[in-house]
């Protein structure tokens, strides 16, 4: 193995988005028949890295080498032709086609002659791929009749079709492959990875540390777009990895810690009892007025479901919620807004703003009543209100009439926050990843706004990308795992717990 170049090597890969550096000189390598683990928190650069490796993202700088040869990847199909295949986290099978069609889609070879399908050949070719992984899935079954785990196996089989296109062994990238699997299915997947190793190299990406340690020969720890450590799973344990994963950011002032307002003795604002949705079960907690309650959990923990159900964006199957001791109706965003609940969604571009509409319109959107006389919009009143908030939050915009889509992410997010803050009677604000995609300065501004809101007595429910942020901003943190609340950790000012304590509950 020594002497020959690594199967895949990445050198100094860099990718910048406006306001964020997703990859910052990322370097690592994968050798033949090796299972390499990549771990990192959200925002560490995992997804951007994987997308660069299959040609969905064009890096700004750095090189990708396959067997020593530099490649510029143009897309998934091209990546496949040089031997890199990926099993996507959000599965990439067409649900209404058969398993065989999916496995061979776009590369049917002898199964299609002159545009005409030869189903027998297609089934046989797909069966060959399924046999490689010892799967008993029927290639003629319709894909949407399979279980999630079965579909993942079909994806693995599909990725292995690139073996037929290249002379050498492929690199298979597995993006968070276990995040939606049951325990026994994970065991099957791990057995599959062992089998895969005989014919390919594997990159296993996950945020579940124990799993990464279990399957990998080597583990790279990613943080802030670069590799911060390369470790041997035999010599480290999960706690060591936790520390590497989180790192240490210096200075508490970033989070405006001193401004954390004491809310002991304040009345309970929101009480949630046994809330259940498709993704969570019997979740109970309460938030006092002026309190910031963080919800921590990995992907699939159900925490997104909780906040979306509270705002009525998704349906709740059960549970009782009271707001200021009055029953609160679930399932209607309009009712939520009317009773003083605001929601800042995680997908700002698609759910948070209407990009072509002006800053002013976006700002007054949820409380148009404030700027109307009867059904008529009062342009002057709107202008006054908007100018006041633009000044107050320091929103950098050429004018209130500028389309919000042209502002930076941080300024867009301030508008979204202002949308709720103009309601004098805002009682609860649900923040779903409020700092996602923002640069450091904008994040700090958003933190300050959250502190102000809490100090003014508004209850805040916070979901955040990083644990550090969650702990720093919250008075208490509810930890969720597999759809249930596992514990609640006090995180008062001046006595913030070590993130590792919470991380260990999460995974």
């Amino acid at each position: 193995m020594t002497g020959s170049p690594p199967v895949l090597s990445v050198d100094g890969l860099t990718k910048r988005y406006p306001g964020v550096t997703a990859l910052d000189g990322m370097s690592f390598e994968v050798r033949a028949h090796e299972v390499v683990g990549l771990i990192g928190e959200n925002g560490a650069g995992k997804s951007t890295l994987l997308k660069s490796l299959v040609g969905l993202v064009t890096p700004d700088a750095g090189t990708i080498r396959v067997r020593g040869e530099a490649v510029r990847l143009r897309g998934v199909a091209h990546a496949g032709s040089v031997g890199i295949g990926m099993v996507f986290q959000e599965q990439s099978l067409v649900p209404n086609l058969t398993v065989a069609e999916n496995i061979l889609l776009g590369a049917e070879r002898s199964a299609v002659r002159g545009g005409v399908y030869r189903w027998r050949t297609m089934t046989a070719l797909a069966q060959e791929q399924l046999d490689k992984i010892g799967s008993t899935i029927d290639p003629r079954a319709r894909t949407d009749t399979l279980t999630f785990a079965q579909r993942q196996m079909v994806e693995v089989a599909k990725v292995l079709t690139i073996e037929e296109r290249i002379a050498s062994e492929p690199v298979v990238l597995l993006d968070e492959p276990t995040s939606v699997l049951e325990r026994d299915e994970i065991a099957t997947l791990f057995a599959q990875i062992e089998r895969l190793r005989k014919r390919a190299s594997v990159v296993f990406v996950s945020h579940r540390l124990d799993e990464v340690l279990e399957v990998s020969d080597r583990v790279y720890v990613l943080r802030n777009g670069r590799v911060v450590a390369e470790v041997d799973p035999a010599t480290v344990d999960a706690t060591d990895l936790h520390h590497l994963l989180i790192g240490r950011e210096s200075g508490g002032s970033h989070y405006h810690d001193e401004a954390q307002h004491d809310c002991d003795g304040a009345p309970v604002r929101l009480r949630v009892e046994k809330l259940s949705t498709g993704g969570c079960r019997d979740v109970s907690f309460d938030i006092r007025a002026g309190e910031v309650l963080g919800v921590a959990g990995v992907q699939g923990s159900g925490r997104e479901d909780v906040c979306r159900a509270l705002f009525g964006a998704i349906r709740a199957s059960g549970g009782r919620v009271t707001l200021d001791d009055r029953p609160f109706r679930l399932g209607s965003p309009r009712a939520a807004v009317r009773s003083g609940v605001g929601y800042v969604p995680s997908e700002r571009r698609t759910d948070g703003i209407v990009p072509p509409m002006s800053v002013a319109e976006n700002l007054s959107m949820a409380h148009v009543g404030e700027v109307c006389a009867g059904p008529v919009l009062q342009a002057r009143r709107e202008r006054g209100l908007v100018e006041q908030w633009v000044r107050r939050l320091g929103i950098k915009t050429p004018s209130p009439q500028t389309p919000i889509g042209t502002l930076s992410g941080g300024n867009q997010q301030k508008v979204v926050l202002a949308r709720w803050m103009i309601d004098d009677d805002l009682r609860l604000l649900i923040l779903d990843h409020p700092t996602r995609g923002l640069d450091v300065g904008a994040k700090s501004d958003v933190y300050a706004l959250i502190r102000d809101l809490a100090a003014a007595g508004c209850a805040v429910l916070l979901l955040s990308d990083t644990l550090e942020e969650t702990i720093a901003l919250s008075h208490r943190v509810v930890v969720m795992k597999d759809g249930e609340v596992v514990t609640t950790v006090e995180t008062p000012k001046g006595a913030k717990p070590d993130p590792v304590v919470i991380l260990e509950e999460m995974v």
């Binding site: 990718k15 650069g45 599965q91 067409v94 086609l97 776009g106 399908y117 949407d144 995609g437």
Partner: protein
């Protein structure tokens, strides 16, 4: 913009653990029947058809006569052919509003190319082939316009509809060409095994449509594109090319429909396709070829064709006025679409 770490390819995340799990070593039974919501939809529309036939049969002795069965089939012929074509567009998840324009142009074309009262031409079969090819060309134009210029098919096909009608009107030139080709006229007038020749042509077209859908790349990729366009693209499917091809296939069927309509009308008529676009979309959707794409197929669409035709026939026999019939058809279409999308309505976040 979405942050880099959240922008996943947008695959519909399927609910876990649906469908039968194969026992270890065993295989799930394999069938080609549509499943899940598709099956529900198809079963429901079949049941509606049967129920309608039963009700009309009880109400009206004339309805259950053999002659009336023949009349229903013959009346369904043109709509069937047009709906087969439209099905390919709907499978993509696109829409085609050009049907009546394309049929107008093709109808005049075939009427002027076979033996007729205006031109001295007598091309016979070749005239039919040219008309079908013209239909395909119109379809290809719709497809290329929407894929190359990235304009929604709703608008491009609306434009092609107008172009088709314009071409038809120019060809019409103020004087209707009467078809004098005995062979073509025979499609409508001669019978073979009890049914009009046109009905056999339609049956052949349905078979051709089914084979295309089942055994060709155009057909299978239409399912893939309609099912998950981004995934198809990620897999290396040349999406734009196959979209345009599916539109062309659809156009060819409209061309054939125009030929059949011309044979029935006995002359080249600009408005030969009048009302067919609505009926064809309705028939397809009623049968289970949903507008979301990737669902249903040629055979399902045919159920819808018969639902509409039987309904019309039954209402005529029942003495309902033609104006009321149209309204009844409208009500049934909306009800059928509501029923068809019922199982997936919670996934339709925004309805435009």
């Amino acid at each position: 913009m979405t942050s880099p770490d959240t922008a996943q390819p947008r695959a519909a995340r399927p609910a876990p653990a649906t469908g039968p799990r194969p026992a270890a070593g065993g295989r799930p039974r394999q069938t080609w029947r549509p499943r899940g919501t598709d099956a529900v939809q198809t079963t429901a529309s079949l049941a509606a058809l049967v129920l309608m036939i039963l009700v009309f049969s009880v109400l009206d002795a004339q309805f259950r006569s053999l002659d009336n069965l023949v009349a229903v089939v013959d009346a369904a012929a043109v709509l069937a052919v047009v709906t087969v074509g439209l099905t390919f567009v709907l499978l993509l998840g696109a829409i085609d509003l050009s049907v009546e324009g394309v049929i107008g142009a093709c109808a005049l074309t075939v009427a002027l190319l076979v033996a007729n009262s205006r031109t001295g031409l007598d091309l016979g079969v070749l005239g039919v082939v040219v008309a079908v090819a013209l239909g395909a060309a119109f379809g290809l134009a719709s497809g290329l316009l929407s894929t190359r210029l990235r304009i929604p098919s709703f608008l491009t096909t609306l434009g092609v509809y107008a172009i088709g009608l314009g071409v038809a009107t120019i060809l019409f030139a103020g004087e209707r060409p009467i078809v004098e080709d005995a062979w073509l006229s025979g499609w409508a007038s001669s019978k073979f095994l009890g049914f009009a020749v046109a009905s056999w042509v339609a049956a052949g077209a349905v078979l051709a449509g089914w084979l295309t859908q089942r055994y060709t790349r155009v057909g299978r990729y239409a399912y893939a594109i309609g099912g998950a366009e981004d995934i198809a693209r990620l897999s290396g499917v040349p999406v734009a090319r196959y979209k345009a091809a599916a539109f062309a296939v659809a156009g060819a069927f409209y061309g054939l429909g125009a030929v059949m309509a011309t044979s029935q009308l006995g002359s080249g008529v600009v408005t030969a396709g009048s009302g067919l676009n609505f009926s064809a979309i309705a028939a397809a959707v009623i049968g289970g070829t949903l507008l979301v794409g990737g669902r249903g197929g040629v055979l399902q669409s045919m159920i819808g064709v018969f639902v509409l035709t039987v309904l019309q026939n039954g209402l005529i026999l029942a003495g309902v006025s033609p104006y009321a019939q149209q309204a009844v058809q409208g009500v049934i279409v909306v009800a059928a679409v509501a029923a068809a999308t019922w199982p997936v309505r919670h996934r339709l976040g925004v309805v435009k």
